[in-house]
């Protein structure tokens, strides 16, 4: 038996852990672009902010899209509710609230991540130290994930946690693609330029897939392959299909456990079916931007339905 409030806490704890890490990954990709391209770095940082869903809030506070401003806003700024620091703080507050549902190892790893990142992000990060800080963020979240997978019982507590992780991750991947969808469109005349290569690599880097891509496609970057990889690949852990495979699985566990199906089950199945039967060609024919737009909307709806069906509030 699980309290609705506890399920809610687990769901959001995991969404925010995922988000804390995603922010670091986005900054990492932006930093890489800034290093490899001398011109127009500000446009690149702008698209990083768009992917993070933080462009508007940023523009309220800053004029210039510089590495220092953007990384500070996305990593440290506690007035930005999605920054790594805010996210880890929210994740920990949720963990504190659901503490009785977590193993000691899981709680301690979250608490330690919070303590160490709070220390590390107490002052503005010098650009030279940025890579070290980004590594540390990824390491802390990896430690949380490790102790979570290593010690948690596979029950409803685990299911609600995973739902949070994958709803957040699917949203994140879809947004990254949507911000850059135009560089993936095959109709562009300058396909294959050095500039494109950087753009493509940046997309892959922001989902930590720039190396694994090559293992799978054994070839240079190609926009359709990149889109295929991030949308349809079943084995790529940040692809939309991968996320929905696990969302479907955990929702099914819950339905079996409780002996009851809800609206969220139908929604997840509908999205899964769409991902399963579509080819990347169909998606491009339909319009990549339209596809992603609908996906983000449906994914958000799934989150709302889960909250309602399982009495989060």
């Amino acid at each position: 038996m699980l309290l609705g409030r506890t399920a809610n806490g687990l769901y959001w704890m995991n969404r925010y852990i995922e988000r804390a890490e995603n922010m670091a990954r986005l900054v990492d990709a932006g930093l890489r672009m800034a290093l490899t391209r001398t011109q127009d770095a500000s446009e690149e940082w702008n698209s990083v902010l768009l992917s993070a869903g933080s462009d508007f809030a940023f523009s309220q506070k800053y004029q210039d899209y510089t590495a220092a401003n953007v990384s500070d806003f996305l990593l440290r700024d506690t007035s930005n509710p999605s920054s790594t620091m805010s996210s880890i703080e929210t994740a920990r507050n949720n963990a504190r609230m659901v503490r009785t549902a977590l193993t000691r190892e899981t709680w301690e790893s979250i608490n330690e991540a919070w303590m160490s990142l709070k220390r590390m992000l107490a002052r503005p990060v010098d650009e030279r130290d940025l890579p070290t800080v980004l590594d540390a963020i990824k390491r802390e979240t990896a430690l949380i994930r490790g102790s979570f997978y290593g010690t948690m019982l596979r029950n409803e507590i685990f299911d609600f946690s995973q739902l949070g992780t994958y709803v957040e991750r699917a949203d994140n991947t879809a947004r990254i693609l949507d911000v850059k969808y135009y560089v993936l469109l095959p109709s562009l005349s300058w396909v294959g330029s050095t500039l494109d290569n950087y753009q493509w690599e940046s997309i892959l880097r922001s989902v930590s897939a720039h190396r694994s891509y090559r293992w799978v496609y054994e070839a240079d970057y190609k926009p359709t392959n990149i889109a295929d990889y991030l949308i349809l690949n079943v084995r790529m852990p940040r692809s939309l299909t991968f996320c929905y495979r696990f969302l479907g699985e955990h929702l099914k566990f819950l339905a079996d456990d409780y002996g009851e199906r809800h609206a969220c089950h139908a929604t997840a199945e509908k999205i899964q079916a769409m991902l399963r039967k579509g080819s990347i060609k169909d998606i491009f024919d339909h319009g990549l931007h339209e596809f992603l737009h609908e996906f983000i909307r449906d994914n958000t709806r799934l989150g709302d339905e889960i909250a309602q069906d399982y009495r989060f509030y």
Binding site: M1, L2, L3, G4, R5, A7, N93, R96, M97, R99, T100, R104, W107, E108, N111, E112, M115, E156, F160, L254, Y258, E260, Y310, R311
Partner: protein, 478 residues
Amino acid sequence: MASEGSTRLAAFDEMLPEVSGLRRPYEAYDRWLKEQDPARLTQKMQDAERVFRKTGITFAVYGEQEASERLIPFDIVPRILSGQEWRRLMQGIEQRVQALNAFLDDIYHRQEILRAGRVPKDLIARNEAFLPEMIGVRPPAGVYTHIIGVDIVRISENEFYVLEDNARTPSGVSYMLENRETMMQLFPELFQKIKVRPVENYPQLLRQSLAAVRPQTAKGTPTIAVLTPGSYNSAYFEHAFLADQMGVQLVEGQDLRVVDGHVAMRTTEGYKQIDVLYRRVDDAFLDPLTFRPDSALGVPGIMDVYRAGNITIANAPGTGIADDKAIYSYMPEIVEFYTGRKAILGNIPTWRCSEPDSLKYVLEHIGELVIKEVHGSGGYGMLVGPAATKKECEAFANKLQAKPSNYIAQPTLALSTCPILTEKGLSPRHVDLRPYVLVSDRIQIVPGGLTRVALKEGSLVVNSSQGGGTKDTWVLDD
């Protein structure tokens, strides 16, 4: 501002009294200690702090923004009681707890003790801790206060006094458990050498005890839950800890509502009935329909369910009338009235400032006394005469004269000391003791309790909110 409470009283040291040399209960420990490398002990002290911070054993201090989560300092030298000392304390505590429950039952029913003139009627009728809503209500199994923390101080080899009866929602038991856990992690070899009676089974005992007082209407295994005000409460760690250790749900007011005449919690599968609620929310916030209407921490209508006998609330609403500081001074009479015997554990002599003669005495001797607010807690709003400046005493005297009934006074006692480990080696500090008592169809006391220690040299204030620390408390299996 509260006073530091520094005094230079000749105190009884529980390890090494000046007159008689090393005391028996500490002999084995002392032998072990002498073999230890001081550098290693210092290291262990730091290890302990890391363990506590890592597991998040913190408490919140109200009014301090920066340090909203602080550790209660832990000292690695145990406070040790012999089996014999403990047995004597147990008898005294049992008697006192029986009397507390009998008093509560009486005060909310026939009020024999008031008719007999042993406790003044005024003291009850005008007391905020007395809940008229509880008149005529008999809780399941007839138990009012299920979990009690009796604060005990020691003056000499054979003199123990009760400082306070905490009959509402005493806290700190998680520290008793974590202190032992930490000591066993740091010094496993010590527990091989010395047989210390275990305290680890407290959560099971608590669970059994709560199950035993379930309402008569509850069928099968009762559903128990711990009610917390939420994760921002200063004792939240303890609430979560106890729910976890008992294997029961930790609920907040927002999770609960009254469904079909029962209190139920909102789960992912719908509402589920609760039979026993171990609440860590104050009376005033328990039911907005009965008490404070602005409370979001309680359950609207829970008092109706309670009066219908469909839920056990532990501790019962209205138990505060038994541990009120104004009632405290009548405890010797109360114990004798209900148990027919003299109190085994004495009270500290107390002047009730509401009585003109006492007030006169207190004002004349303000520099020698400890003066407390009747409804205060946590060491706030008190004056420790011998440690206060003349100015502070005068200011307090004015407050006292303005509202005498708001205060009681007690002699400044030389609380016993126990050594703590400092940078310069062992050094004595004043301590008190809070054993935890569970009441159901029987009374159970876990051997030990929470020893609080004033870390500042000479200080008599042991409260964690004011620089107090804790120690592991050992009852020897001898």
